[in-house]
């Protein structure tokens, strides 16, 4: 890949993270928690996006981010109170910023008019009546920039170079030598110097002595250092805060200028670095104010931000909350998948070995068997750890939802409050990727169809704001996600009428409440009277259900009239393994996904009835359910099995129709590693995938829906699949 493109990709990945942090931070602030660290985090997020965007010449993004950042800076400096109105604008600005990032990455255009209005709103926030800036001689404060959007690009950079120190001011000598890493992270020394200048009057001296001659100049090297004589009334912590984001990427030395008037060092033009360090150490020795901060840092920059910094010991919460404190690496997903495949093979191999050992008749107490037991334990642990690498908190998809709620809320005119729970619940990355669409659909539905209009809510004695709750939790090896609303619940009469009108059910069908609720999952069902932008295209819940089932999940609905509805999805934690029921049919070993099975039962001869030619039904608690002989359906045997000698698996398939699968025997239940048949062969009708069992043999995983559907369409004809056309071809 083009190295520039790779860097660009990384930038956009980081943007996603920053935007996530931005939204989370703003929502935390909206919740009333305006902790300085939260505000700083929000500011940092916008600032990072702006910095990176500048490096890639994404001007529109930089312009918008800058205006946004200016407003945030006012909040940070306490000039602007983060009340509901301000945060409303900021949340919309965060959405617009996300759009701009997306457009910058994928092309296209954003709503320019909206962006312009937002810029005005943001500027209005910055320009709104505010206390006079606390430092009267602060220069280039963002709030002073009330002009047009282009004005900010050339903010005047003016330092009070020779101002006499105010009586209460203290003189500081700040030595600042950026390392290459500082620039690599899109920080800029000039900005930091400008920030310092805002604290008081500063005399900045450039030391360019380390600058090599041009041929030796490394384009990404760092050669310049500065000495700043600063006269300020602010405490040391304020100075240190300016360098907060570059700690570890520079040599920084802050010391009181032991009684020297700021002008004294003004003559230093090209003093060499060794002398500078010597001088700084000497200064340090004479500076009891900041024990042990400057000297060790100057000698050996802290390699890791995770190392506690005595200079910031007064804010112990930093280490826990700052995102930088957790070391992470980016790894290509293919590598992780390769590792998962290998571990899958290890698990199979270990199982094979165990089986061979037991076949060899070694006693369980033998050393070999005991060693194998340990190996099994280790293998399981490795498998769990490797799976955990792919696991991510559902937060990444949950945090897209507040924006969706804001948009749908604005479109429908229904005020909505979104509550999220269990954002830290972890699940495999592929599952997360497939969650966004169904969740989006369900939340739209919950607002559009679930919640009543504000006036109806008032009439029902409910608070005007509707509540949509999104919750995730782990339950028995699966992740359960609930989307619930406190709306009117499913209008069963209307659902039924709609289903009858669309011919989905017979007008005289007798349905329980639960069955009626489940009608909304039928393909082609939609109760929306008008097709709106939001939902009601008739591809609603059936698509949601199908995509959840494609992930090996199930979805259920619970609704109480007048109190709201709850959709509960239960999904596997990973798509690499599957909980299966191992069965045998027609002499072959097969795996049935456990999620499809409702119950297993032993049929009695009297329960099974033939229906026409080829079709068989079984009576289960008074209901006739189609019975499919798996061995026959897959062509493993010609003659159907006597049902009394087999076992039936009661399954529920797409569209909630039930069917019974007849197999010879059940061997047990186990977790299997999913293997692709398509990689080396092709899709096989009736087979979802393959797996490898403990004996090293390949077993096929049934595609339950396809088997039932095929036997249904084939009933009356030969109960088989139509042979694939490709095989006739030579």
């Amino acid at each position: 890949m083009d190295p520039m493109a790779a860097i660009r990709d990384t930038f956009f990945q980081e943007c996603e993270e920053q935007l996530g942090a931005l939204e989370t931070g703003l929502l935390t602030m909206e919740g009333g928690d305006c902790d300085p660290e939260t505000v700083n985090g929000v500011f940092r997020a916008v600032h990072s996006v702006k910095g990176g965007a500048g490096a890639f010449g994404l001007d529109a993004l930089v312009r918008f981010a800058h205006v946004f950042e200016t407003a945030l800076d006012d909040v940070r400096a306490g000039r602007l109170a983060p009340d509901g109105r301000v945060l409303g604008v900021m949340l919309r600005a965060a959405d617009a910023l996300a759009d701009l990032v997306r457009v910058s990455r994928d092309g296209g255009a954003t709503d320019a008019e909206r962006d312009r209005l937002l810029v005005e709103d943001l500027k209005a926030l910055s320009g709104s009546p505010q206390p006079q800036a606390p430092q009267p001689d602060a220069v280039a404060s963002g709030s002073a920039d009330g002009g047009d959007m282009d004005g900010f690009a050339f903010q005047p950079l003016r330092f009070e170079l020779d101002a006499p120190p105010a009586p209460a001011e203290q003189n500081w000598t700040v030595r600042f030598r950026p390392e290459a890493g500082l620039y690599a992270k899109a920080n800029e020394a000039a900005v930091l110097l400008r920030e310092l200048g805002r604290l008081g009057s500063a005399l900045v001296t450039l030391d360019a002595s380390a600058l090599p001659s041009f041929p030796d100049l490394h384009p990404e090297g760092a050669y310049l250092s500065w000495t700043i004589d600063l006269a300020t009334a602010q405490p040391e912590s304020a100075i240190r805060e300016v360098f907060e984001f570059v700690e570890g990427d520079c040599e920084l030395d802050i010391a009181p200028a032991a009684g020297q008037p700021p002008g004294d060092t003004g003559g230093i033009g090209d003093i060499d670095l060794a002398a500078l360090i010597q001088q700084s150490q000497a200064t340090m020795a004479a500076a009891p104010v900041a024990p042990g901060v400057g000297a060790p840092r100057a000698a050996e920059p802290a390699p890791d931000t995770g190392i506690p910094n005595p200079g910031r010991a007064s804010r112990p919460a930093d280490a826990a909350t700052a995102p930088a404190s957790k070391a992470t690496i980016r790894v290509d997903l293919d590598r992780v998948d390769g590792l998962i495949d290998l571990v899958g093979e290890l698990v199979i191999n270990q199982a094979m070995l165990a089986q061979r050992v037991s076949e060899a008749g070694l006693p369980r107490s033998s050393n070999v068997a005991l060693g194998l037991g340990d190996l099994e334990q280790l293998t399981r642990e490795i498998q769990d750890s490797v799976m955990a690498i792919r696991a991510q908190p559902v937060k990444s998809v949950f945090q897209r939802m507040p924006r969706l709620v804001r948009e749908v809320s604005a479109m429908t005119g229904k005020p909505v409050r979104l509550l999220t729970e269990g954002e830290g619940t972890e699940v495999d990355k592929t599952v997360i990727e497939h969650l966004a669409d169904p969740l989006t659909h369900m939340i739209r539905n919950a607002i559009d169809h679930g919640l009543e209009r504000p006036e109806d809510r008032a009439a029902a004695g409910k608070p005007a704001d509707g509540t949509v709750r999104l919750a995730a939790r782990h339950r028995s090896g699966r992740i359960v996600i609930e989307v619930s609303d406190d709306g009117g619940g499913i209008n069963r009469a209307r659902v039924r009428a709609s289903a009858v009108a669309k011919g989905l059910i017979a007008p005289d069908a007798v349905l329980s409440d639960e069955e009626t609720d489940n009608l909304i999952f039928l393909p082609g069902f939609s109760t929306a009277e008008t097709v709106s932008d939001i939902s009601g295209r008739g591809v609603g819940m059936d698509v949601v259900k199908r995509s959840i089932q494609a992930l090996g999940g199930r979805i259920a609905i619970a609704s109480r009239p007048g109190q709201g509805s709850t959709f509960t999805m239960s999904l596997p934690l990973t798509l690499a393994v599957l909980d299966g029921m191992v069965v045998s049919a027609g002499g072959q070993t097969l795996v049935t996904p456990l999620t499809a099975i409702i119950e297993t039962l032993q049929p009695r001869t009297g329960d099974v009835h033939s229906l026409g030619s080829g079709a068989t039904v079984i009576a289960i608690r008074g209901t006739f359910i189609p019975l499919v002989d798996v061995g026959v359906a897959l062509g493993y045997r010609a003659e159907p099995l006597d049902p009394a000698r087999g076992i039936t698996l009661l399954i529920e398939n797409e569209g909630c129709a039930r069917a019974a699968l007849l197999v010879d025997a059940i061997q047990g239940q186990r977790q299997v590693v999913i293997k692709s048949l398509e990689a080396n062969y092709r899709r096989v009708p009736g087979v979802a995938a393959a797996t490898i069992l403990g004996d090293g043999r390949v077993a096929l995983i049934l595609d339950v829906d396809a088997i039932v559907a095929a036997s249904r369409s084939a009933a009356g004809q030969a109960p088989e699949f139509t042979p694939a056309a490709g095989f006739a071809h030579v």
Partner: protein
Amino acid sequence: MFDTTHSVHAMARRELINFRIGPQEFCVDIMAVREIRGWTPTTPLPHAPAFIRGVVNLRGAVLPVVDLGVRLGLPPSEPTERHAIIVAQVGRQVIGLLVDAVSDILTVGDEAIQPPPDVASERVRAFVRGLLAIEGRLVSLVSLDHVLPAQELDAA
């Protein structure tokens, strides 16, 4: 990718894996062959054509096994432990070929490969790309490109 009909250099000598199915002898380009394994029982695939014996586990991957004899129009084999599976790369897929026995590696020049005569059936012409005379025996050079049915015809 491993099309045996187009040699890289006209003068190139190529190495071929020589194997036997029933009384007949065949060979494939050694470059397409990844390994040779003994026969292990396969898991049959539902509704598969007769020449697909099923799938086996190849170190964690699912490998389809083709009865090459049936594919070439010969009677099906009754595999025993003495039978061999030639694991071959065809395009991006890896498949197993069930043969009676692998006998030799042949090194021949391109000039030794004769085109198949017109008398051969359509099926033979689809797979046999050339004939070799080795010590008085007839050895057919098999092209593996179309051993598995084309993927795009899956639509059924």
